[in-house]
């Protein structure tokens, strides 16, 4: 993936932003910047090394590489020899990142690197959602937090570079997602490979995955498929990213799948803090009498088990977050003046961490658990009845002609009117007290699994509802 897809994306980016592979690359020496420029190499980024293999690609890339770009690289080397004294960044263009961004110009940032990664994953239609990717990043399986420690020795980061490479916050889903579509458009990419119904990212499959993780009955799948079909979110054209079509809504596959499950739960169980519990007691009684055979899905029992698990997991997650170590062995310092102070502090922190480490009794953590797509596993073989996959929705359905329909005939809309996205950035605004507890619970479950804010899933639910009940709404 790295060599074929990511590198090409990167080269395309450099070309589009006129930093390399073009006839007249931007020269930072000539620009009248308020602060004088630094030395060393061109933009510091993880894939830098591949640029040294320029010559081997010149044939395939055609006119992208010219003599002048080679000349550009060497002229920088000459320039570094007679650099000015007041260096403010280890990179050539570090200070330009401080300036106001020109419209249409996409600047690199650490979150952007993830956008690049995900774009490549999407291009290859890999079975990994954006929320999975971000989760792996936060869990430390993907270098991000202190990625600079893997840079080669020659690349020195200081001054303004710190603003870019010193990560103080985890990447935000919406942020990274927005940049993907911007990036794709900026790079003038063609339509991405099609997301068909055999792809992992297709809602049919993703819903199944999340359903299993949420310990919901397999039978739910029929219903999610029906909803998907009804609102046409399973269409290839809808799902595939097409940078040319700028007005098309950019799909969040994982959030969409989660929201679909929420909508189906609302359809079946209403989730108004009454109906689902009434049905649960009914199902519970029935299950008591019919211990053999298929058990009916009991919402209350499911709630108890999931809540217990969630509480434990959430508590663990909160503690892990508090224990998170942000600094690495190689510290960053703003300038040479700071260097000794920073190094001394780092040594002090390491010493004290060792002292308290002994007192904490924490044994050296064994190899990190390998990243897994599933966070919750419910084994069917488990005899204590914790797994609901095989449970039946019989109690909640009724026959109507040839097909099954829900016994519940009511539905409440999350919102009647959607906001203007351009004005306030979102289509909906989520306020907890406005909604039933069951709904809040279900949202919080998926919010935990996807590590996204509850409001994001809620927004998607509203969108689905508006598509589903479009005709009824239009009549109003």
């Amino acid at each position: 993936m790295k060599d074929e897809i990511l590198c090409n994306f990167w080269r395309c980016y450099l070309q589009k932003s006129k930093q390399a592979y073009c006839a007249t690359p931007v020269s930072y020496a000539s620009k009248a910047l308020p602060i004088s420029d630094g030395s060393t190499d061109v933009d510091s980024e993880p894939e830098r090394i591949s640029l040294y293999g320029l010559s081997s690609f010149s044939e395939s890339d055609g006119d992208l590489l010219t003599e002048s770009s080679f000349g550009y690289v060497s002229s920088i080397d000459k320039a570094s020899a007679k650099e000015t004294t007041s260096v403010c960044s280890g990179s050539v263009d570090g200070s330009s990142y401080l300036l106001k961004r020109k419209k249409g110009n996409l600047r690199m940032s650490m979150p952007m690197t993830l956008s690049f990664c995900y774009m490549a994953l999407l291009w290859l239609r890999e079975p990994m959602t954006l929320s999975d990717l971000l989760r792996f990043v936060i869990d430390g399986h993907i270098p991000y937090l202190n990625a600079f420690q893997y840079f080669p020795e020659e690349m020195k980061l200081y001054g303004v570079d710190l603003k870019i490479f010193r990560v103080q916050s985890w990447p935000v889903y919406e942020d990274v997602h927005k940049k993907i579509s911007e990036l794709a458009a900026f790079l003038d990419l063609p339509r991405f490979p099609a997301i068909t119904d055999s792809c992992f990212l297709h809602p049919n499959i993703l819903c199944m995955k999340y359903q299993m993780e949420a310990n919901l009955p397999d039978e739910l799948h029929n219903w999610t498929c029906r909803v998907i079909k009804k609102i046409n979110v399973g269409e290839i054209d809808f799902l595939t990213l097409d940078p040319v079509n700028r007005s098309a809504r950019k799909v969040k596959y994982d959030v969409l799948a989660a929201a679909l499950i929420v909508v189906v739960l609302k359809l079946l169980f209403l989730l108004d803090d009454r109906y689902e519990w009434l049905h649960a007691s009914f199902a519970g009684e029935r299950n008591q009498k019919n211990k053999e055979g298929c058990l009916w899905f009991d919402f209350k029992k499911w709630y108890m088990i999931i809540k217990k698990t969630m509480d434990v997991k959430q508590k663990k997650l909160d503690e892990e977050r508090a224990r998170y170590l942000w600094k690495c062995e190689k510290p960053l310092f703003y300038s040479d003046r700071e260097k000794s102070v920073v190094l001394k502090k780092r040594q002090m922190v390491v010493d004290l961490q060792r002292q308290f480490g002994v007192l904490s009794g924490l044994v050296q953590v064994a190899e990190k658990q390998s990243p897994s797509s599933f966070q919750l596993n419910w084994a069917e073989e488990n005899t204590n009845g914790d797994c609901f996959h095989g449970h039946s929705l019989e109690g909640i359905l009724q026959e109507k002609g040839n097909s099954l329909t829900t016994m519940n005939t009511a539905y409440w809309l999350c919102t009647v009117k959607l906001c203007n996205e351009k004005l306030c950035g979102h289509l909906t605004h989520y306020k907890e007290p406005d909604f039933p507890q069951s709904y809040q619970f279900v949202l919080s479950l998926f919010s935990f699994l996807l590590r996204v804010p509850v409001s994001l899933i809620h927004e998607e639910v509203c969108l689905i509802e508006h598509k589903l009940f479009k005709t009824k709404l239009q009549r109003k």
Binding site: Q168, R321, A322, Y324, D351, L352, Q355, F356, G361
Partner: protein, 414 residues
């Protein structure tokens, strides 16, 4: 141009509305420009976990979170970075004081690190470290640390932290005194005298300095006086103690007067001098235990005004609950009242009784007290009965609260 400007205005107004809506929504949605980074938030959360653990005495757990919290020393926010050393120091000290696996070595290691965390912290940490060592009986280690800290100088900070430095020097002086007194008990070696003198000089210099600063320095004063008296520098003692007691810049301190009095007594000063010192003590702390001694001196004096004052002193002493069951005080009062009545100074007694007649009966001479005194302490009961008899006089005949209970048997005795 009029319609154009109207259009422009309209556009501008619409933009204003859009903009305020945007701002409003942002505020509603709790999104501000300066959102704290996840680093800051996780460190806040970490601190909460540490605080909870400390409150619940979960030292191991606190240590676990401390590992992560230590990173706040490298916080990018200058404000947080400056506040960090003190937090780390205080939390770390708590954990190390209580953790079962902690030892004095661990504590020392930590304290040394803390001293290096910042110029403003150094002396504070030194002092507290020394206290900790003293509490654990490690006087020699404390002494070493004080010697090191004593010589600390750091440009402007030396004057800014002048008081802390003086404290360090004062405690060093105290420990020098301690060493000196240890040597004093060791009579064998010839060199003891020489060593003693060295400690004395070191101690004297520092103790003298700290006593100059207005404050309460009782232990330092006592040690200093002990040193000076040993070397017979009585003038210096007099100077120091009178300053300590009478300099208005110093906070009121009854002990200062006591020390001065005790010294003068040791020097065999005249009763007149002694009484003048105790007079001030009487004014500050009328219930002080030395008041009986003062009273005795006043009684022995030939001056009438002293006798008058003595009566006041003894009455005042018994105004206080702590003296209620003090037999000697009551017997003094009884004796003095009878003497004064013999000398026909009824008015003196009258004056003193006037302000007390409303509450002393309930305070001292109640029926309940009478019974209890008689059961527990017969001599007390007798003395009180005598006094009550005289003071309550006529009222007794009308109301037999106190007297009938106690007087009968005591009068029989007398």
């Amino acid at each position: 141009s009029a319609p154009l400007s109207r259009d422009l205005k309209g556009i501008r107004d619409q933009r204003m509305i859009d903009w305020s809506l945007l701002i409003g929504k942002n505020i509603d949605a709790n999104v501000t420009c300066r959102k704290a980074s996840d680093f800051q938030e996780t460190k806040e959360a970490c601190l909460n976990y540490i605080q909870d653990a400390l409150l619940q005495n979960q030292w191991q757990r606190a240590a676990e979170f401390m590992i992560s919290y230590l990173e706040t020393l490298e916080n990018t926010s200058a404000e947080k970075r400056i506040a960090a050393p003190e937090m780390i120091w205080r939390i770390g000290t708590e954990i190390l004081c209580h953790h079962s696996k902690s030892s004095i070595d661990e504590f020392n290691y930590f304290a040394d690190r803390m001293k290096n965390l910042g110029v403003k912290q150094y002396l504070k940490v030194c002092l507290e470290h020394v206290f900790h060592l003293l509490c654990n009986g490690l006087v020699d280690d404390a002494y070493q640390n004080l010697s090191l800290a004593e010589g600390w100088r750091y440009g402007e900070q030396t004057t800014a932290q002048d008081k802390k430095l003086k404290l360090i020097q004062a405690y060093k002086g105290l420990l020098d005194y301690y060493n000196w007194s240890q040597k004093r008990e060791d009579n064998f070696a010839e060199s003891v005298e020489q060593e003693m003198h060295t400690f004395f000089r070191q101690a004297a210099v520092n103790l003298k300095e700290i006593i100059k600063i207005p404050g309460v320095w009782d232990p330092f004063v006592k040690c200093y006086v002990d040193l000076l008296e040993f070397y017979e520098d009585y003038d210096e003692v007099r100077q120091v103690l009178s300053e300590y007691a009478y300099n208005s810049k110093f906070p009121p301190n009854p002990n200062a007067h006591v020390y001065f009095y005790q010294f003068l007594k040791r020097r065999g000063e005249s009763k007149k001098t002694l009484m003048s010192v105790l007079k001030i003590l009487h004014e500050i702390v009328p219930c002080h235990e030395l008041m009986l001694e003062y009273n005795a001196m006043l009684q022995k004096s030939k001056k009438r005004k002293n006798h008058r004052l003595g009566l006041k002193v003894i009455f005042t002493v018994l105004d206080f609950a702590g003296w209620k069951e003090h037999v000697k005080a009551w017997s003094c009062l009884a004796k003095q009242i009878t003497q004064i009545l013999e000398k026909n100074h009824l008015d003196w007694v009258g004056e003193e009784w006037n302000s007390r007649k409303d509450w002393w009966p309930a305070f001292h001479f109640s029926r309940y007290l009478a019974k209890r005194n008689w059961q527990e302490n017969k001599s007390l009961a007798c003395e009180k009965a005598l006094v009550a008899g005289i003071l309550l006089g006529k009222e007794i005949l009308a109301d037999d609260t106190f007297l009938l209970v106690t007087l009968k048997p005591s009068v029989q005795k007398y």
